[in-house]
Symmetry: C2
DNA sequence: CGACGTGTTGATCTCTCTCAATTAGAGTGG
DNA sequence: CCACTCTAATTGAGAGAGATCAACACGTCG
């Protein structure tokens, strides 16, 4: 871990996440409060642990740049990835509630995070209810992701899980990258092991499943970039029909 | 669904959850705000849907009495139970964030819930930051449960999953029931199908796994009551060693 | 160069699923 | 009181998705 030197730390008013994160303040007062709670910015390298499972005194922070993931392990060391973290995601809300971290966080790429004071959670709620509300919102959004992952791991086939992970990441990424060119694909720092750990599959079976989807022409991963070749078919397989998704479900 | 007649509705000051829920107000002003946001109390019977998946305009509510569960289904109708809801649990935070319900909620027993106004989330945050903070807390706690379930379904064997579910429910129940007698067991309204749906297992395999644990003398389910016969062995199997849980994990 | 991480592929094994049929208890109606 | 129905639990048998074990290929890096 390295701290960003003071003169390179972003001023909240110039935050690169300005257009994306719900967490960002809108009024001048809110801005000042957030700024006052900001402690520093830190950098991590790929594979570096940002939060260790069980660590105490976990800070609250936001991802500014790069990818990371939350995970939890069993006593035997089996690791399950709970969710992937992208710029704008808030981390550490759960941690602030308990004595020690309920899950670990590890960087996938070079990672830049914005770290807040330990009691920022409370200060933000207290001084600007609108910010508190946004924190709740982000927390709920985080739970949506986990709910969805649980449904996948519990009830979907390997193929469906992989397809869904790809499509969901693709969608999240596209939002963050407005000037996106379909032909170039998107940065995709996950190894097959990460995918396996996120989907509750073995490494070998994950590999075979990816290969199968690729042979069907649905996607391609090369040189750390993801190319979604057939978005429609992939979304279909992923049970992510944009259309009237909910209405289609059997009502009885 | 039936609404509780006005004269039988609890006054917030006399809320039966007083001693349990973090959500409950502590100051007089907070109490008044919560009371003002309370719209009604409703009753549901076992198997009745409290929230339908995809339903719009979902209210915020708290469980007062009884059991329920949150669930999500695939396009093919496969149902995954995301978490079980007990008295004191807050439901509908996620829902308030999106247009439509991200998950359904179904009653397991006779269920009594306390329903709030649609914009209660915002009102509570705004008027009493401390309450907003508690809502965030409860939301984060809810996510902890799902994180844990995801780890189980992703990485644990059928036996471990069942054991863990039983122990976790047992612990949650014991907190809610201070005058608890070990010999009498606890109310346990889950069918094997519910357990299967929560753990991502088939009904048949869930049954066999339960039987195996029972034969080992770890637990017993009879007449809708759960008896934990060997708490230590069960917790062991469930990877829930109360002792120094976190410290035991491999640090590298 | 050797070590290591990641991807790849084949062979084998097993946990868990699916299909199928039976039993037991609760409720309903004649 | 008994036949009828429905749900939940139960048990057996066979099938399969995915796990495990084992090698090997390839690029990177100290």
């Amino acid at each position: 871990m390295k701290n960003v030197p003071a003169h390179q730390v972003h001023d909240c008013a110039l935050c690169p996440l300005k257009q994306f994160s719900v967490f960002l303040p809108h009024s001048k007062q809110e801005l000042e409060t957030v700024q006052s709670q900001k402690r520093k910015e830190s950098l991590y390298g790929p594979g570096e642990e940002v939060i260790r499972e069980g660590q105490i005194q976990v800070p609250l922070f936001t991802v500014l740049q790069g990818w990371a993931f939350r995970f939890k392990s069993t006593a035997t060391g089996q690791r399950q990835i709970l969710s992937f973290l992208l710029p704008g995601d808030l981390v550490g809300v759960q941690q602030n509630m308990a004595e020690s971290a309920a899950h670990g966080v590890e960087a996938l790429t070079d990672l830049r995070v914005c770290v807040f004071e330990r009691d920022a959670m409370w200060q933000l709620h207290q001084q600007h209810p609108a910010l508190g509300f946004k924190i709740t919102w982000l927390t709920a959004k985080g739970e949506w992701l986990v709910d969805d992952a649980l449904l996948s791991v519990g009830k979907r086939s390997a193929e469906e899980r992989v397809a869904r992970l790809l499509v969901l990441l693709f969608k999240r990424l596209r939002v963050l990258q407005p000037d996106f060119d379909m032909r170039e694909g998107m940065v995709f720092p996950l190894t097959q092991q990460h995918i396996a750990d996120a989907l509750g599959l073995s490494l070998v079976h994950t590999h075979r499943t990816l290969r199968r989807l690729e042979k069907k022409g649905l996607h391609q991963v090369r040189d750390g970039r993801l190319h979604v070749c057939d978005p429609v078919a992939l979304a279909e397989l992923a049970d992510l029909n944009d259309s009237t998704s909910q209405a289609q479900r059997p009502l009885v």
